[in-house]
């Protein structure tokens, strides 16, 4: 057997009191795709960041191609042929693609020659790996999928032999994900070594050669992918049996809760993002909106949630909503019984610096139960929060921790607890399980279904087709600000939906 491309021995890393990695050892063979799975907060990103020189390990050794190396910073990692695509991209938002690619890998003191050379090389790389991006586009103006390509291009431009991808598909559409895996396979065929962190067992099963499982800072197992099953991996990860399919009974639709007629939204730049759409959601059903990110589903949620203005008619329980005036804000929507789990929990759904208990009142701070006279009744809020944290199994169950100290899955549970326990007539929910581990996904899906079964209307927006298919009672596909049509989950599949998401009507498909 040949020398492992990467070998980590006894890596330990603590962040203050948090032991993120405990004595971890791992071997990755060259020319393979090696998966790493684990719950949120298990320490996957930390381990990879150490390998990339972003964090310094407290203990442990790193061997690259059999040679012991010191990786005190990313420069050393790059020199050792390692490239990494972080979970949260490390791009300069107001730089162009080209500038981001050459940053740190410039050829001389002046930019122009570097840019020229990079432009040429980028075209070559693009041709070779189907990694097409507009080199002059600004990062903040391209979608996440494109941004990820830029990250991969950055690594390839630096001639990485070892590529680490941390949850690369969390933000991708199915088509984009498929393409990513094609690229990864091509890279693998060229002899490059790839480490892939993901929460999606299907990706592990489809793409990897070996897989390591992490739990609470420790490496619990490394197995050959061909010799394991999703069920086994899930159990290794979570430490208990996990239901991988959503368990739900057929919907019992009731009266119309949400009626949307000819809704239009024009954004601050004057671009029409929603071009006249109409649909309805009834009590006791989940309407899933499928679509490639950026086709208007975010705006749809924002208008409904009172974060943006629009024109047209929206009725909730038969009463028309104010879309532009004094009552068009999010607070008025809540008073109308609309709860909203936003797509971006860290930017919108939570105040990351607030304690968990403060966050459970976020948006509902005017609730009578939270007031005592002119002051807020913090004791009441806290008690309320403790209940929510317990019922939604938020871990750690400490409502005095700041939101940023929770892992992504647990942050999402905090938001869900807050919104679902309001017992809303209509729940708007965007990307409910983005970046969330499978244990938590299972739980979150159960909660959504339970709310539906209580006779509430739910509008689900997700880029995960699998999620849409398994949760929705009806599916609508959005493309370019228009609805392409509706399907019942039983009568459609990912392929058809995928085509509709690409703008082809059912008839074309």
């Amino acid at each position: 057997m040949s020398e492992p491309a990467i070998e980590l021995k006894g890596i330990s890393k603590a962040f203050g009191p948090v032991q993120a990695n405990k004595d971890i050892s791992i071997r990755v063979m060259p020319g393979t795709i090696h998966g790493i799975i684990g719950e949120n907060g298990a320490g996957k990103s930390t381990l990879m960041s150490i390998l990339y020189g972003f964090y310094k390990a407290d203990k442990g050794e790193i061997f690259i191609a059999g040679k012991k190396v010191a990786i005190p910073d990313s420069q050393a990692a790059i020199a050792a042929g390692i490239g990494m695509v972080f979970q949260h991209f490390k791009l300069v938002e107001n730089f162009t693609v080209l500038e981001n690619v050459i940053l740190g890998a410039e050829d001389g003191a002046l930019l122009a020659p570097s840019l020229r050379k990079a432009r040429k090389e980028l075209t070559e790389l693009a041709a070779e790996y189907e990694l097409n991006v507009d080199p002059d586009a600004l990062i903040e103006e391209i979608g996440v999928g494109m941004q990820q390509r830029v990250e991969i291009l950055k690594a390839l431009y630096r001639q990485a032999d070892i590529l680490i991808l941390d949850e690369p598909t969390g933000v991708l559409t199915p088509a984009e994900a498929d393409q990513l895996f094609r690229i990864l396979h091509r890279l693998k065929d060229e002899g490059k070594t790839i480490i892939l962190i993901t929460h999606k067992l299907r990706e592990i099963m489809d793409a990897t050669d070996t897989v390591s499982v992490m739990r609470r800072g420790e490496m619990t197992a490394t197995v050959k992918t061909s010799e394991t099953s999703p069920q086994e991996l899930a159990e290794l990860m979570v430490g208990r049996k996990v239901l991988l399919r959503v368990d739900k009974t057929p919907a019992q639709p009731g009266k119309k809760v949400l009626e949307v007629e000819n809704l239009r939204v024009i954004d601050s730049k004057g671009v029409e993002r929603i071009k006249g759409i109409s649909f309805e959601v009834r009590a006791g059903e989940i309407l899933g909106i499928a679509g490639v990110a950026g086709n208007g589903q975010s705006e749809l949620l924002e208008v409904l949630g009172g974060m943006e203005n629009g024109t047209g008619t929206i009725r909730v329980n038969g009463q028309e909503l104010d879309l532009t005036g004094k009552f068009s804000d999010a607070r008025s929507r809540r008073k109308r019984g609309i709860a909203h789990v936003p797509e971006d929990r860290q930017r919108e759904g939570l105040i990351m610096d607030f304690k968990a208990w403060e966050n459970t009142a976020f948006g509902y701070d005017d609730d009578d139960a939270y007031q005592s006279g002119i002051l807020m009744d913090n004791t009441a809020i806290r008690q309320d929060a403790e209940g929510k944290i317990e019922r939604f199994d938020v871990r750690p169950a400490n409502c005095d921790l700041e939101a940023k100290s929770f892992s992504g899955g647990n942050q999402q549970k905090l938001v869900l607890a807050r919104e679902i326990e309001r017992d809303p007539d209509l729940l708007l929910i965007g990307q409910p399980t983005r970046g969330v581990d499978i244990g938590a996904i299972e739980f979150i899906h159960q909660q959504i279904v339970a709310l539906r079964d209580k006779g509430k209307a739910i509008l689900l927006v997700s880029v995960e087709l699998e999620e849409i298919l398994s949760l929705s009672d009806r599916i609508a596909v959005i493309f370019d600000g228009k609805l392409m049509g509706e399907r019942l989950p039983a009568n459609t599949d990912e392929k058809e939906l995928g085509l509709m998401m690409a703008g082809m009507t059912g008839e074309d498909a």
Partner: protein, 321 residues
């Protein structure tokens, strides 16, 4: 208002804008790298002192310039230590630096010259002299543009031209060099710079150092170019105005020139018209003195949109909480 008056006002505006321009560009480098600096004032002040003191003692304005820059750099080093190495609060550090400069200049001045914290007046080679640009005399006959060249552009001290050259230079460095790319990146997203294998700390120190040099030039210009001695607190709030100009300029070099020139112009106008008789009412001198500030607010509210500061500005780069 005749043409000559206009020229004279422009001439004055250029002089008044120069220290602001230096300081504004200084702030630009620092803030573009993500380090907020409200200590521009203090750095200018200490540079003004050391440049005047050294120029007087050695008789050479060049040595004075050097000393001023060095003093300003020393304060920059403190700011860097506090805000980069020890990840302290950049605003507090700036406040401290302003106090430090205000106290130290007088304290040192007292024991050095025994003149109550001032330096003696500078003469001859101890101060910058006006430079007549080539052909100023000959061209002044050319209608309209000739006088503009001869009156407004020509005849300033060396540092005025340096300041003007600093604008394209800054633009070039920022947008056309590797260093500039990295500098801008580190102010927007230090993690991106870090993971690209570049030292965030090194870059930020470099930016803070450039800031120090430019503040040094600003201070030296005040004491040895525009004036000819150091007087305590002689920066008179120009560091804060430069800061305002920087935001006004949206952290961009050419805009910095326009913004500081606008401030200079408004001040020159209010200097020229200490009180304005409008026929119906006479605007009192206090109003005319406030006019530059009032107009700034009006312009800001009316014409300048939202300015987005460098995204990582003011935040120390902390990887591990």
């Amino acid at each position: 208002m005749d043409y000559l008056t206009v020229l004279q006002i422009l001439d004055s505006a250029l002089r008044l804008a120069t220290p602001l321009l230096f300081a504004c560009l200084a702030g630009l480098f620092s803030e573009r790298a993500g380090i907020f600096d409200i200590g521009l004032e203090g750095k200018m002040l200490i540079a003004a002192f050391f440049s005047a003191a050294t120029a007087f003692s050695t008789g050479s304005v060049w040595l004075g310039l050097l000393a001023g820059v060095a003093a300003s750099l020393a304060l920059s080093a403190i700011h860097g230590l506090a805000s980069i190495t020890f990840r302290g609060n950049q605003l507090i550090s700036g406040v401290a630096i302003n106090f430090l400069a205000s106290g130290l200049t007088v304290l040192i001045g007292l024991s050095w010259f025994k003149l109550g914290g001032q330096t003696p007046a500078l003469q001859g080679d101890a101060r910058f002299q006006g430079i007549d640009l080539p052909l100023a005399e000959t061209l002044s006959g050319v209608p309209v543009l000739g006088p503009l060249y001869a009156e407004v552009l020509s005849g300033h001290t060396f540092l005025v031209y340096v300041a003007l050259l600093c604008v394209p230079a800054t633009w070039y460095i920022l947008y056309r060099t590797r260093f500039g790319l990295r500098l801008r990146a580190v102010g927007e997203n230090p993690a991106a710079v870090d993971t690209a294998g570049i030292s965030v700390v090194g870059l930020r120190y470099a930016a803070v150092a450039i800031c120090g040099v430019l503040c040094g030039l600003a201070g030296a210009y005040l004491a040895t170019g525009l004036g000819a001695s150091f007087v305590k607190e002689m920066t008179a709030g120009r560091g804060y105005i430069a800061l305002a100009a920087l935001i006004f300029a949206k952290w961009r070099p050419w805009y910095a020139l326009y913004a500081t020139f606008l401030f200079g112009l408004l001040e020159a106008i209010s200097n020229r018209y200490p009180s304005l008789d409008l026929g119906v009412v006479t605007l009192p001198s206090q109003f005319m003195q406030a006019l530059p500030y009032i107009l700034t607010v009006v312009i800001l509210a009316g014409f300048v949109g939202k300015a987005t500061p460098p995204r990582a500005g003011g935040e120390p780069y902390v990887k591990e909480r």
